[in-house]
C-alpha cells in the first residue's frame, strides 16, 4: 500500500501521467483514427515536455529512459512504413508503461522488468497469429498431426500408419509427444471458450516466448550468482534473446513444433539446477530438477545436449578445482540426482505398450558426458581429499583402474559423441545433402561471422568476445556459472558452423553469453573511472542495435521476427489438401516428402514419405518415380511395388481392400526441387556417393527487359513492322541458357530465340536440336505470354505457372515430372516448335484436378490390371481465393 505522502507525490507527478497516457496510445491507435504524422508530432512534443518537466523537477536521470522511449515511439510513428513498425509501437508502448511505473517508484526494477518482458515477449512472438490462421510451413504440422490424434481419440498414438509403407509405418511409442499432448490439453480447455485445437496450436509457441524470457532471466541471474550487476546483465541477455531472429524462427505463434516448449523447459531445468547448486539444496535438485528433467525428455530431444554441456562444465570446474584446491563433487551430486530420477520419470511415460518402464540404454553422448564428469570429479576429490590418506601402492592401483576404465569405456562412449557432434554435424548422406537445414551454416570463418550477425545481431560478436571473459571467470574466480555458459556456447558455436539446423538451439547460448560482456564491462567501469564511457557506449550501442533503429546502424533487422508466417506454398496447397480430405480414408498419395506432413495432418491420408526423411530408400523410390523413370512402364513398377504393399497386412487388416495408392500430386515448387530429387534418385545410398547435379530450369518473365507495348522495326524486306518482345530470364543451368526472347509480330506471328551465357542470340530451333532440349509450361503457351504482358506490373499477384516456362534437356525431357505436370498443354509447345518430345497424354495417369491455377495438380493412377476401385470424387471449387488477380 502506498502511504499518503507517496500517493500525494504520485498524484502531483504530471510526467507519470503523460507516460502512462502515451503508453496506451499505440495500443489504442487503431481506434483513435489519428494519422501517424500527428502521432509522431504528439510523441515528440510530449518528449520535449517531459524532458522540461523532469529537469524542472530535478528528475531527469530518473526519467531519462522513458523519455528516450517516447522519442523512439515518435520516430516509429514517423517511419511507420518500415517492416513491423505497427507492432514495434505497441511493444514499445508496453515497455514505456512498465518503465514509467518503475521511474515513478511505484514498482521495483526487477518485477517491472520480469512482468514487462514477459508481456512484451509474448506480444512480439504472438504477432504471426494476428496475421494468419494457418499453421506455419512444414515441420510444425507434425506436432499438429499428433495433437489432432490425441484431441480426437483421447489417446496418445503408438504407431504412425500413414507413412513409410515398406517399413509398415513407424513405431512412435518412444516419441516425445509432450508438445502435442499439451496442445491437445489446451485445445480441450479452449473448447469451453468457443475455440479449440487450432487456436491452441497457433498460440502455444508464442506463449513460450514469454515464459522463456522469464525463466531465462532467472537462469542468467543464477549463472551470475552473487555477482554485482548480475540483474542488469541478465536483463540485457533476455532483451537480446527475445529479439534474436535465430531464436524467433521457432519461438512464435503459428509454429507448433516442440522446439519453443522444449527450449523453455531446458532453461527451466538449468535454472533449477543452478539454483540448487548455488544454495547446495539437494531437495530442490532431487524433487524439482528431476521432475522438470523428466518432463523435458518426454517433450524434446535437446536434453542430451543439456547433459553433455553440464558434464563438460563440471569437468572443467573440477580441473580448475584441482589447481585451486576446492571440491566440486556437489555439482555432480546435484546433476546426477536430476538425471537419475528424471530418467525414471520419463521412462515410465515413453515406453512400448508392453512394458511399464522403458529399458533402452543411455545414449552414448550421456555416457560420454558422465564419464568425463566422473573422471574429473574423481581426480578432484582424490587429490584434494584423499591423497594424503592413501598409500603409494593404493594410489598406483587407482591410477591403473582409472586408466583401464578410460581405455575401455571412454572411446566407446565418445564414438557416440563423435557421431552426433562430428558425423551428424558434417552430415554426408545423399538425402541430407539436399536439405537446406542440413547444409553448413557457413563455409568460411568470415562467412560464419557475417551470417551470425544476420541471425543473432550484435549478440553474435559479443558472444565471441565473451569467450575470454568466461575463461577468465572460470580460472580466476572459480565460477561454475561461467563454466556452464562456456561449455554450452562452445559446442553450439562449433556445431552451427557445420549445420544450419542448429541455428535455433545455438541462439540460446549466443544470446545469453553476450550478457557476460555486459557484466564484465559494468564490473570494470567501477574500477577504471576514466575509461568507463567507452564500454558504456558499447553496451548502449548493443541495446539500440536491437531496437527498430537497428536498420539505421547495422544489417540486423529484428522486425523480421514478426513475419514468420505461412508462405505462398502452404496457402497454394490448401484447396488440394481440402480435396484430399474428402477422399476415402484408405487413399494414398505419391508426392515429394515436403508435403507429407500436410497430407497426413490436414487431409489425413496415406503418403509414401514425409518430412521426417525416416527411410531414405523409400525417399529414393519416390525420387526415381519423378526424376529417373523415363517411361510410364518404369514409373508404374515403382508405384506397383507400393500398391502391392498396401494390399498386404497390416494395411489389409485396417481396411477391407487395403490402402489404395490412387493419386500423384505435383506442385510448382517441385520444379525447383527437381535437382534434389535427381540427386537422390541417382545417388548411391549404400556408400552415400553423390548423385547427378542437374535440374529443370525456370525461365521467368522479366518485364524490365521486355517491350510489351511494341516498337517499330524493319523486316527482311525493309518494311516497317510493329513487334513486341518478351524476355524470360532463366535460372542457372548446365546448358548455359540465360534467357529466352519471344518476338510477337503485328500479324501475331511468334518467334523465339535462346540467349546464351555470353548474350548471343540463337534461333530456338537450332538451340533445341543442338542441346536436345524442350521448353515446357504448366499453362498453354499463349496463356503464359498473354498473362505475362497483361500483369507485367503485378506479377507477385499471379501464380507462377502463368509467367514462367520450364526448360529441360536430355533425359530431363522425359522424366515423369515433365510427362505429368506439362502434359496438359504440351501440344501448344510442340505446335509452336518449342518442344521436341515424343510423349503426349499419359496412359496410366489420368489428369484429375488442378488447384490454384496449376500450382498443385493431381493425377489418378490407372493400374493396368484392376486391383482397386475408389469412388469418384466431385470436382472442388477453388475456395481459398488466395490467388486473386488485381484489376487492370
Amino acid at each position: 500500500m502506498l502511504n499518503n505522502d507517496k500517493t500525494k507525490d504520485l498524484l502531483n507527478n504530471p510526467v507519470l501521467f503523460i507516460f502512462l497516457f502515451l503508453s496506451l496510445v499505440p495500443l489504442l491507435g487503431v481506434y483513435l483514427n489519428i494519422d501517424n504524422v500527428t502521432l509522431s508530432i504528439l510523441f515528440a512534443s510530449c518528449g520535449v515536455l517531459c524532458s522540461h518537466l523532469s529537469i524542472k523537477r530535478k528528475e531527469f536521470v530518473r526519467n531519462a529512459l522513458p523519455v528516450f522511449v517516447v522519442f523512439l515511439l515518435s520516430y516509429l510513428f514517423y517511419n511507420i512504413t518500415a517492416a513491423g513498425a505497427q507492432f514495434w509501437v505497441i511493444a514499445y508502448g508496453m515497455a514505456l508503461f512498465f518503465i514509467a511505473l518503475h521511474s515513478a517508484r511505484i514498482i521495483d526494477a526487477e518485477p517491472a522488468f520480469v512482468i514487462g518482458i514477459f508481456i512484451i515477449s509474448v506480444f512480439i512472438h504472438i504477432v504471426p497469429a494476428l496475421i494468419t490462421d494457418y499453421v506455419e510451413e512444414i515441420d510444425p504440422y507434425y506436432d499438429y498431426k499428433w495433437a489432432q490424434e490425441i484431441f480426437n481419440t483421447g489417446n496418445v498414438p503408438q504407431h504412425d500408419w500413414l507413412t513409410y509403407p515398406l517399413k509398415g509405418g513407424l513405431d512412435r511409442s518412444l516419441m516425445p509427444f509432450g508438445n502435442p499432448v499439451a496442445i491437445a490439453i489446451y485445445g480441450k480447455i479452449l473448447t469451453l471458450f468457443g475455440m479449440g485445437l487450432l487456436q491452441s496450436t497457433l498460440l502455444i509457441s508464442g506463449l513460450m516466448g514469454g515464459m522463456t524470457a522469464v525463466v531465462a532471466y532467472f537462469l542468467l541471474k543464477e549463472l551470475m550468482y552473487n555477482r554485482k550487476n548480475a540483474k542488469l546483465a541478465a536483463m540485457f541477455g533476455v532483451f537480446v534473446l527475445i529479439l534474436s531472429v535465430g531464436w524467433s524462427t521457432k519461438v512464435h505463434a503459428t509454429d507448433s513444433e516442440n522446439d519453443a516448449f522444449g527450449g523453455m523447459v531446458v532453461f527451466a531445468v538449468l535454472f533449477i539446477f543452478m539454483y540448487a547448486v548455488n544454495r547446495d539444496n539437494f531437495r530442490i535438485s532431487l524433487l524439482g530438477g528431476s521432475l522438470v528433467f523428466g518432463w523435458l525428455v518426454t517433450l524434446w530431444d535437446g536434453y542430451r545436449l543439456l547433459t553433455m554441456f553440464v558434464c563438460i562444465a563440471i569437468a572443467m570446474i573440477s580441473f580448475v578445482g584441482v589447481i585451486k584446491k576446492f571440491r566440486t563433487i556437489k555439482y555432480l551430486k546435484h546433476y546426477l540426482a536430476i538425471f537419475l530420477v528424471g530418467n525414471f520419470l520419463w521412462r515410465i511415460v515413453l515406453h512400448p505398450p508392453t512394458e511399464f518402464i522403458s529399458l533402452i540404454p543411455f545414449k552414448g553422448i550421456e555416457i560420454a558426458g558422465f564419464i568425463l564428469a566422473f573422471f574429473a570429479v574423481g581426480i578432484n576429490e582424490y587429490i584434494i581429499n584423499y591423497r594424503s590418506k592413501v598409500s603409494r601402492n593404493t594410489e598406483w592401483a587407482l591410477i591403473a583402474v582409472g586408466a583401464v576404465a578410460l581405455i575401455l569405456v571412454w572411446p566407446i562412449a565418445w564414438v557416440h559423441f563423435y557421431n552426433v557432434a562430428v558425423v551428424d554435424a558434417q552430415q554426408s548422406t545423399v538425402v541430407f545433402k539436399t536439405i537446406a537445414e542440413q547444409a553448413p551454416f557457413a563455409t568460411t570463418i568470415k562467412d560464419y561471422i557475417t551470417s551470425l550477425s544476420r541471425m543473432f545481431g550484435v549478440a553474435a560478436l559479443l558472444s565471441l568476445c565473451a569467450i575470454p571473459i568466461l575463461i577468465y571467470f572460470i580460472c580466476r574466480e572459480d565460477d561454475f556459472g561461467a563454466a556452464v555458459m562456456l561449455s554450452w556456447l562452445g559446442p553450439m558455436m562449433w556445431g552451427l558452423y557445420f549445420k544450419s539446423q542448429y541455428s535455433f538451439i545455438a541462439s540460446m547460448p549466443y544470446a545469453l553469453a553476450s550478457s557476460w560482456v555486459v557484466l564484465f564491462v559494468m564490473t570494470q567501469k567501477e574500477h577504471e573511472d576514466g575509461l568507463r564511457i567507452i564500454p558504456t557506449l558499447l553496451v548502449l550501442y548493443a541495446v539500440v542495435a536491437y531496437s527498430p533503429l537497428a536498420s539505421l546502424m547495422s544489417n540486423y533487422e529484428p522486425g523480421a521476427i514478426f513475419y514468420n508466417v505461412a508462405t505462398y506454398d502452404r496457402m497454394g496447397w490448401e484447396s488440394a489438401l481440402q480435396y484430399f480430405l474428402k477422399a476415402p480414408a484408405n487413399t494414398a498419395v505419391v508426392t515429394w516428402w515436403d508435403y507429407g506432413h500436410w497430407l497426413t495432418a490436414v487431409s489425413h491420408k496415406f503418403v509414401l514419405i514425409d518430412n521426417l526423411q525416416n527411410d531414405h530408400w523409400e525417399i529414393q523410390d519416390v525420387a526415381k518415380f519423378f526424376m529417373k523413370a523415363e517411361s510410364e512402364e518404369d514409373a508404374m513398377k515403382i508405384i506397383q511395388k507400393y500398391q502391392d504393399t498396401y494390399k498386404r497386412p497390416p494395411y489389409a487388416y485396417m481396411y477391407q481392400d487395403g490402402v489404395n495408392l490412387d493419386y500423384v500430386a505435383i506442385d510448382w515448387t517441385m520444379i525447383g526441387k527437381s535437382g534434389a530429387m535427381r540427386f537422390i534418385a541417382t545417388g548411391n545410398l549404400t556408400n552415400q556417393a553423390d548423385g547427378e547435379y542437374n535440374s529443370y530450369t525456370q525461365c521467368g518473365f522479366a518485364p524490365q527487359f521486355s517491350n510489351i507495348n511494341g516498337s517499330l522495326t524493319t523486316d527482311a524486306e525493309g518494311k516497317f513492322t510493329m513487334s513486341k518482345q518478351l524476355v524470360y530470364q532463366c535460372t542457372g543451368n548446365a546448358d548455359g541458357l540465360s534467357g529466352i526472347v519471344f518476338t510477337i509480330g503485328q500479324d501475331n506471328s511468334l518467334g523465339a530465340e535462346a540467349v546464351d551465357q555470353y548474350g548471343a542470340r540463337v534461333p530456338w530451333k537450332i538451340w533445341m536440336s543442338t542441346h536436345k532440349s524442350s521448353l515446357f509450361g504448366v499453362k498453354a503457351l499463349n496463356e503464359v505470354l498473354s498473362v505475362s504482358m497483361q500483369y507485367a506490373d503485378k506479377l507477385n499477384n499471379v501464380p507462377p505457372s502463368y509467367y514462367n516456362f520450364v526448360y529441360g534437356s536430355g533425359k530431363f525431357k522425359d522424366f515423369m515430372l515433365a510427362r505429368l505436370y506439362f502434359s496438359t498443354n504440351i501440344e501448344t509447345y510442340k505446335t509452336a516448335g518449342l518442344a521436341d518430345v515424343t510423349w503426349s497424354a499419359p496412359k496410366y495417369f489420368k489428369k484429375d484436378q488442378s488447384f490454384e491455377e496449376g500450382f498443385v495438380e493431381t493425377w489418378k493412377i490407372q493400374y493396368p490390371t484392376t486391383t482397386t476401385t475408389v469412388p469418384t470424387m466431385q470436382k472442388q471449387e477453388n475456395k481459398t481465393g488466395v490467388f486473386k488477380y488485381g484489376t487492370n
Partner: protein, 99 residues
C-alpha cells in the same frame, strides 16, 4: 485470430500453468522472493502436463476435460489442504483432541 480471442486463449493457457507451477514450486522451493516465486511458477508451470501424459500413455485414462481439470484441481487442492483450509482444519482438530 482476433486480438481479443488471442488474449482470452493466452490467459486460458497460461493461468493453469501459473497456478500449478506456483503450487509445485511452493512445495519444492520454500524460501524465495515473490518475484522469484513467479519465476519458479513459470519454470514448473508446464509440469502438470507430464502427469496427464503419464496417465494417457499408461492407459489410466483418456484425454477429456474431467481428467485435465482433475489433475490441475488435484494439484491445487493439495496446496489448499496443506496451507489453506485443510491445515486450519487439522490444527483445529488436533487442538480439540488435546483439550
Amino acid at each position: 485470430m482476433e486480438p481479443i480471442s488471442i488474449l482470452i486463449a493466452l490467459l486460458v493457457i497460461f493461468l493453469p500453468m501459473l497456478a500449478t507451477g506456483f503450487v509445485i514450486s511452493t512445495f519444492i522451493v520454500r524460501e524465495c522472493s515473490l518475484i522469484e516465486r513467479f519465476g519458479f511458477s513459470v519454470a514448473f508451470g508446464s509440469c502438470f502436463i507430464y502427469f496427464i501424459y503419464f496417465a494417457l500413455k499408461n492407459n489410466i485414462s483418456s484425454l477429456n476435460l474431467e481428467v485435465i481439470f482433475g489433475v490441475i484441481g488435484g494439484i491445487i487442492l493439495v496446496y489448499i489442504i496443506k496451507y489453506g483450509f485443510g491445515k486450519r482444519f487439522f490444527e483445529w482438530l488436533f487442538a480439540k483432541r488435546r483439550e
